[in-house]
């Protein structure tokens, strides 16, 4: 077995530099790599490009990096929960590339799986297809989309082991699996680092080969964006 465990978030982030491109897992605030984000804020890294479905909220998640103006460019599908984001975007301080959600996931997966490009129907006839090749297959139009390139992928799992195997819980899985192995270095933080052999090999969501470094995260807040409940009858 090839051991991927590192001591802490500091060791996990060794090599990150200003100007790099990062992938960050999560949907809204669900399943985001909280420890990696905090550390990126703490070390004051600058001019980064973030590939992430959302941009956090004003005071949590990627919003923390936006607040400190550490982000040069965001590549996302939906950014509607963040006022500071909208301000920076409309003022031109922040570059934004909006991408359909399924295309965003698949562009990560293409990088992970060695596909340079694929044809998808999403965005045909819209701004998203501008400047891109379009093509007909079986009477339907498709847009050619290319794989992302990134330096680091930061993902968050529920459980993991030293071999880098990951298991997710609920909808906190989302973009995390497709980002594993889609960047030069994939860093996984987990709520619980379990002994090797404890995870059933049939139930592993991401095999360790896609993960370069893994560490046990700390102090997860797991903030809820929309707390919706029903009353007991």
């Amino acid at each position: 077995m090839i051991r991927k465990k590192v001591a802490d978030v500091k060791e996990a982030l060794q090599g990150v530099q200003d100007g790099m491109t990062f992938m960050l897992g999560g949907f809204g605030l669900c399943g985001i790599p909280e420890n990696a984000i905090s550390e990126l804020v703490a070390i004051g890294i600058k001019e980064i490009t973030c590939i992430s479905n959302n941009a956090g909220v004003d005071d949590f998640g990627l919003g923390l990096l936006l607040q400190k103006k550490q982000v040069k460019k965001m590549i996302s599908s939906y950014v509607g929960e963040n006022d500071e984001f909208e301000r920076q975007m409309l003022s031109g301080e922040l570059e934004v590339e909006l991408t359909p959600q399924g295309t965003l996931a698949e562009k990560c997966r293409a990088a992970q799986a060695g596909f340079p490009a694929f044809y998808t129907p999403a965005g045909y006839g819209t701004e998203v297809a501008e400047g891109k090749e379009t093509r007909e297959f079986n009477g339907k139009m498709y847009v050619l989309e290319t794989a992302y390139k990134a330096d680091f992928a930061f993902v968050k799992a529920w459980k993991g082991d030293e071999a880098g195997n990951l298991v997710f819980k609920g909808t906190a899985r989302n973009f995390n699996p497709c980002m594993c192995g889609a960047a030069k270095i994939t860093v996984a933080e987990v709520e619980e680092l379990v002994p090797v052999g404890e995870l059933d090999p049939n139930e592993i969501h991401v095999p360790g080969i896609f993960v370069k470094r893994i560490f046990q995260g700390k102090n997860y807040e797991k903030r809820i964006e929309q707390r919706t409940v029903r009353q007991r009858a």
Partner: protein, 217 residues
């Protein structure tokens, strides 16, 4: 005239036995409350759950179990969780039978705009572009006119498009309308709404063939 719940109630009639359904944010989310209980339906949320259930009881919210609107939800027996790639395989691969979503504008050829107002508001398309480019069966749930009173059913959309020629049906506070090769075709009137009211609120070509029944809710 219908309120948001009325629109949801009418759309719920379009949900058939055995349908996998994706519900957008806003009015579409309400549709789940009105689906007949004697049919088998499963709700998919594109952030990674199939077999979505109602909101959790107070105190049972789980930050790891949300829908695409970032609301805490529950999973019903038979549900599954999966990643975003698998979720959009369901959508792009046309395994989802019905997509219900909101819109800012719909044109008479079925174009839809719902993600951007240039220079003013840019929230992003989320999964909407994948959904409208893939789904065979798309119903738009929206108010017939915007806050300024302008029609949202147009000859041609003025806002950046989400998808082209994809909308099949529209349910508004005033009417049920089909998108046909000839334009919008009026199918039903909301209770107490006249054909003339609908005509006035519709900017695009509105075809009125024969008697237009009032909705049964």
């Amino acid at each position: 005239m219908l309120d948001k719940n009325g629109i949801a109630k009418r759309i719920a009639q379009e949900v058939n036995d055995g349908y996998f359904v994706n519900l957008g944010i806003g009015i579409p989310t309400l549709v789940a409350n009105y689906v007949r209980e004697d049919i088998e339906v499963e709700f998919q949320s594109e952030n990674g759950v199939l077999g979505m259930g109602p909101f959790p009881f107070e105190g049972e919210e789980d930050a790891d179990i949300i829908n695409a609107g970032k609301q805490t939800i529950t999973a019903l027996p038979g549900a599954s969780f999966f990643d975003s790639v698998t979720s959009f395989a369901m959508i792009r691969g046309q395994h989802v039978d019905l997509t219900i979503l909101g819109a800012m504008e719909v044109s008479e050829n079925g174009d839809i705009a719902n993600w951007k107002i240039p220079g003013k508001m840019v929230k992003g398309m989320g999964g909407a572009m994948d959904l409208v480019a893939s789904a065979e069966n798309i119903i738009v749930a929206m108010m017939h006119t915007n806050r300024a009173g302008d029609s949202k059913l147009l000859k041609k959309c003025s806002l950046p498009l989400t998808g082209v020629g994809c909308v099949k049906k529209i349910v508004t506070n005033l009417a049920v309308i089909a998108v046909t090769p000839e334009g919008f075709q009026l199918l039903e009137r909301a209770p107490g709404v006249s054909v003339e009211d609908i005509q006035k609120a519709t900017d695009g070509t509105l075809l009125v063939k024969g008697d237009i029944p009032e909705m049964e809710l």
